[in-house]
């Protein structure tokens, strides 16, 4: 949920809005904001599944330490989305979903 108006910080202004692709769906994001913030603003909190048990995970610490928010960004896996800035046209994928070769490997 985007906070457009704020009693202290005022209205969101001078933003550069770009499109990014998350699991094949195009969403609108503020350029430079963390990928996790953009996905959260679009109403989704789940960012990955655990490899063995396929449990959902999302942002916990927000400062790049807990690594619970990692996703595959432009082909690079395990990118911490809470500290990685949005760039126009980024392609982002959820990791560890069933059918993901790596996840299948870990289940063995």
């Amino acid at each position: 949920m985007r906070v457009h108006q704020h009693p202290i910080l005022g209205a969101l202004k001078d933003e550069v809005w770009v499109n990014i692709e998350v699991d094949g769906t195009t969403i609108c994001a503020r350029e430079g904001e963390p990928i996790a913030a953009a996905i959260m603003a679009n109403g989704r909190l789940k960012l990955r599944h655990t490899r063995k048990r396929q449990e959902p995970r999302g942002v916990f610490c927000g400062i790049g330490r807990c690594t619970d928010c990692v996703m595959t960004v432009d082909g690079q896996s395990n990118v911490r989305t809470c500290v990685t800035a949005v760039k126009a046209g980024m392609k982002i994928q959820t990791q560890g979903m069933t059918g993901d070769g790596e996840a299948e490997e870990w289940k063995k």
């Binding site: 949920m1 985007r2 704020h6 959902p56 942002v59």
Partner: protein, 367 residues
């Protein structure tokens, strides 16, 4: 190998203050920070600070951050962002990964570690569900990135972080269904608690979270009352439908680099756990390695900035940029402000714990 007089690790309130003071006295200062932006957690603090005029009371955190950053740069300190320190070797050789992902070894004459702290996790059934976040992460999302994780939030922990972030969720248009505190009394300042109480947020002391549930993300939580020994009391469960649970159960100093340097630590639970012992000059037990801010024990931005100033002045003086006499005078002024900050109901235990840490350092040096 590139040489630097003073290397500051961390561009938050403590690190920037240290850099500003040292650069002002003529030292060559380089600040490195792993984040994209400087300021640490100052820029998400949209509330007005407390204290006296000397402590910038009445000024909002992000305004303090902007001024501090501007002054630090004006004094000539160089700030390198997206730069990670991965190791500190004997004789203060520092390994860094720069913003362009290349490797560099620096030779520093003095190092000031101002790495801050990270928030504690809380274990309960369902605690890994998406939407269960540290309160600081919620605060960053709301105030910096302008995103509310969900419209209904349950806050766990009534320290200042829990109280302030609850209010800021309300300011952003969210709802805090309740604030839960296991202790019999509220942990943070009464004035913050009063603000959220007036806004209608129930503060439930002697309650803890029993479990959270949901499929793809958190959908609700069960809380339960606890007795005097924090044991859950069956039959007192209450349900809340929330899409976000914020965890404000304290912070732990990020002291890995001090540990790598071989600094002696002490255990002070009320300041966050294992802390590097330091002197009145903020110097650790390893000569030339200084610490400032939350790494020395979790307090507030105001004390972090003062500790940073002490470390900056002491390091610059040790390098001969200012006479010992003048440095002592400057440090005495800072100490008088710190002592004012560490008074009252909330400051007293911090004053005592800090005194203990500095006594331990003295005992080690004497022996």
């Amino acid at each position: 190998m590139e040489k630097v007089e003073i290397l500051v690790v961390g561009a938050g309130p403590a690190g920037l203050s240290a850099a500003m003071e040292a650069a002002k006295l003529g030292a060559q200062v380089r600040v490195v920070d792993e984040n994209q932006k400087p300021g640490g957690q100052l820029f998400k603090q949209i509330h007005k600070f407390f204290g006296s005029k000397d402590h910038l009371a009445g000024t909002r955190g992000y305004e303090i951050g902007s001024a501090l950053l501007k002054n630090t740069v004006e004094m000539g300190a160089k700030i390198d962002l997206n730069t990670v320190v991965y190791g500190i070797y004997p004789d203060r050789q520092v390994g860094i990964i720069t913003a362009d992902k290349s490797h560099q070894l620096l030779q520093a004459e003095k190092i000031i570690l101002a790495t801050g702290a990270s928030e504690n996790v809380l274990a309960f059934p369902g605690c890994t569900l998406p939407g269960i976040m540290s309160a600081g992460a919620v605060q960053t999302m709301v105030n910096i990135h302008r995103v509310l994780p969900a419209s209904n939030v349950l806050m766990i922990g009534s320290g200042n972080v829990g109280l302030i972030v609850s209010y800021q969720i309300l300011q952003a248009g969210g709802h805090v269904r309740a604030l839960v505190e296991a202790a019999p009394q509220i942990g943070g300042y009464g004035v913050h608690a009063a603000k959220i109480s007036r806004a209608g947020v129930p503060i439930l002391t002697r309650y803890t979270i029993k479990c959270a549930y949901g499929t793809d993300q958190v959908e609700g939580a069960t809380i339960i009352a606890v007795d005097d020994s924090f044991k859950p009391i069956g039959g007192t469960e209450r349900e809340f439908s929330v899409g976000c649970i914020a965890i404000a159960t304290g912070l732990t100093p990020l002291a890995e680099l001090a540990s790598l340097c071989g600094c002696t630590f002490t255990y002070v639970p009320r300041l966050g756990g294992m802390l590097p012992i330091h002197s009145e000059d903020m110097e650790t037990t390893v000569p030339g390695i200084y610490v400032a801010g939350d790494i020395t024990g979790v307090e507030e931005a105001s004390t972090a900035m003062e500790e940073g100033r002490l470390a900056g002045i002491a390091a610059a003086a040790a390098l001969g940029h200012v006479s010992a006499e003048k440095a002592n005078l400057m440090k005495a002024q800072v100490w008088s402000r710190i002592n004012t900050l560490r008074t009252g109901k909330f400051g007293q235990y911090r004053q005592e714990a800090k005194g203990k840490i500095m006594n331990e350092r003295r005992a080690l040096i004497v022996n």
